[in-house]
């Protein structure tokens, strides 16, 4: 693995950004390898855009260092960084046609007309818009505009592609379609990409690694599977995937009492005192229906039953604030109806807890 170090494309070292006394970003570090697609995921206001803008050279007032290809580019202005950006808001130049928009970066670089044309046709083909080259942006749908913006950003063969919630203004169906298109193109062109989103499904479905951010800090960065199965903090556990928050109590000796069961506390969980009231974080697939109503399970009433193809999701009222969701195969769920009384059991061997 000696080539590992040489493979580092982007290295962000201890980035911080303050607005007055408010820290928008604190001590943020991130390494990206060549051709990797990394997503930054987190609630609105957690600092995702700030990271992207600092990397893109649009926010010079920050602390920390930025290396691309091993070169310190911290002081370089945006127009010298060669990074393609796609913004949340529509950003096509309204007075230029689609093709002119895509060619803009090359025109600025004084590339000759024929080469430009060829490149823009190629890219428009890639985003399935080669027939709209002469259209103006206002003649395109939102999804088409963002695809053109993507083509425009790729035209300059960017060192890093920066995507700031490019899909958030689009409707659900288009969103899924375009995110897959982005991933396909990213893999085809082997472009190192930083993708910012607040939608966990979006991040989890198209990235090599996902970094979860909270209040200006990176909580955890890992592959989607690791993030889901081994969250390092309660915040990550509740932000990624569906998580039930079930009232529980710390039982001393590193265990937690929940649904009449005693389960080991995950070593990633924060320390807690005996008797402390907490919320156990339980994935729907880590719950099962008990065969009988015994002292090792918790009874409740089935309130909702959603058929999801091979899986079915039940919403069970345990007398707590929220319904508790449980996943099972649709085969198993056939005998259960809304209104049935059932007993729930936890199958996982350890649990994370959050503040109650």
């Amino acid at each position: 693995m000696s080539s590992k170090k040489a493979d580092i494309k982007v290295n962000l070292e201890n980035l911080s950004r303050h607005y007055g006394s408010v820290a928008a970003l604190q001590d943020f570090s991130l390494e990206m390898t060549t051709g990797e697609m990394v997503s930054l995921l987190g609630p609105s206001g957690c600092g995702k855009t700030t990271v992207l803008r600092i990397l893109g050279g649009l926010d010079p007032n920050h602390q920390g260092k930025i290396f691309v290809d091993g070169e310190d580019i911290t002081g370089l202005p945006s127009d010298k960084r060669n990074m393609g950006m796609v913004f949340q808001a529509y950003s096509l130049f309204p007075n230029m046609t689609v093709a002119e928009n895509v060619e803009y970066g090359l025109r600025v670089r004084k590339i000759n007309h024929e080469v430009r044309r060829k490149k823009s046709m190629e890219l428009l083909e890639m985003v399935h818009l080669s027939h709209r080259g002469n259209a103006y942006p206002n003649q395109l749908s939102g999804g088409q505009q963002q695809r053109v913006a993507l083509a425009r950003a790729l035209a300059i063969s960017p060192k890093v592609l920066l995507l700031d919630e490019p899909l958030s203004a689009l409707d659900a169906q288009v969103r899924v379609q375009i995110r897959e298109e982005i991933r396909r193109i990213q893999l085809e062109t082997e472009t190192t990409t930083l993708f910012v989103t607040h939608d966990q499904e979006e991040a989890m479905s198209v990235s090599d690694r996902v970094g979860v951010m909270n209040a200006g800090q990176l909580e955890q960065i890992d592959s989607p599977a690791v993030l889901y199965n081994k969250p390092k903090t309660a915040f990550v556990a509740s932000f990624v995937g569906v998580t039930n928050r079930i009232p529980a109590e710390i039982d001393g000796k590193g265990r937690v009492r929940v649904l009449n069961q005693k389960i080991d506390l995950s070593k990633n969980s924060r320390s807690a005192q005996e008797g402390e009231k907490v919320m156990a974080l339980v994935r729907p697939e880590n719950l099962t229906l008990a065969d009988e109503f015994d002292s090792e399970s918790k009874p409740g009433l089935v309130i909702t039953k959603s058929f999801l193809g091979p899986l079915t999701k039940l919403g069970v009222d345990l007398g707590t604030e929220n319904l508790v969701y449980i996943n099972m195969t649709s085969q198993e769920a056939r005998k259960i109806e809304v209104g049935n009384r059932v007993a729930l059991k936890i199958t996982s061997e350890e649990l994370m807890v959050a503040n109650g």
Binding site: L58, M83, V108, A153
Partner: protein, 267 residues
């Protein structure tokens, strides 16, 4: 049925409007064609205009000043308002207030204050008027540009252009100016018409321009003064129509490429 009544009403209103508008103009034209002593109609009052020796001098000066004001507006007001939108959002309210001050401050104090503030070598030249005209036009030009810049996602466009490798200057000429072209056209048009018609401040500063000259010479010739007004009115209209048709040519070019594009999709 309903829409027919509606469109009939529309034409009625349009007709009334036109009569209201055309009647005084027609009456004035008729009046300007009369001759002293009621001896039928004649173009004598119009040829009188051109016989005035200062006619061409003054109209040339006014046109020059108008063009100069437009140029100054273009190179100072346009970048200033753009900069305000990009970097000075916090101070926007203050500048919006400052921009209407030329309407509020009496012209006399504006004239004297501004005159004193000018460097002497400019004070001695009639071209100093262009600077005053730009200031007087600011309430209108600022507003027009303000609206234009608010209607586009300026910050994002600039950032997109910069990230694609364009310098700030290139971004202004290739992206911002074309995106707010109609607002800039409107601002220039306002600067031109306001400078061309400005009277109060000019005469307070004892300069002679076309409007000042008109007022002076027409004092001795009533019919001649009407002919002059008609002449300037028609002149202004021709200018308007010229600007409009230039804009239309631009629009048609755009529309043409859109039609081609639709044809391309259909075939």
């Amino acid at each position: 049925m309903k829409s027919r009544i509606f469109s009939a009403t529309r034409y009625l209103i349009l007709g009334l409007g036109l009569i209201f508008f055309i009647f005084p103009v027609a009456a004035a034209i008729e009046f300007s064609l009369r001759s002293y002593g009621n001896k039928g109609h004649t173009f004598a009052n119009y040829s009188w205009i051109f016989q005035q020796e200062d006619f061409f001098t003054n109209i040339t000066i006014s046109l020059k000043l108008a063009v100069l004001s437009a140029v100054i507006t273009l190179i100072t007001v346009v970048p200033a308002v753009t900069f305000l939108h990009l970097e000075g959002q916090r101070y926007k309210r203050i500048f919006e207030f400052l921009a209407i001050l030329p309407l509020v401050v009496p012209v006399v104090s504006l004239a004297i204050g501004a005159q004193k503030a000018m460097p002497t070598f400019i004070q001695n030249s009639q071209y100093e008027l262009a600077f005053f005209y730009v200031i007087i036009a600011i309430p209108y030009t600022f507003q027009s540009l303000n609206v234009g810049l608010t209607s586009i996602p300026l910050k994002t466009l600039v950032e997109a252009s910069r990230s694609l490798g364009a310098s700030f200057g290139k971004t202004v000429t290739a992206v911002i100016v074309p995106a707010i072209r109609s607002a800039i056209n409107a601002a220039i048009f306002l600067a031109v018409t306001l400078s061309f018609g400005e009277f109060t401040l000019t005469s307070l500063l004892h300069w002679e321009t076309f409007p000042v000259w008109i007022t002076r010479v027409s004092q001795g010739n009533v019919l001649g003064s009407i002919a002059l007004s008609m002449f300037s009115l028609i002149g202004a209209w021709s200018l308007l129509i010229l600007v409009q048709s230039l804009q239309n040519v631009q629009k048609q070019r755009r529309a043409k490429s859109q039609v081609e594009e639709i044809e391309e999709v259909l075939t």
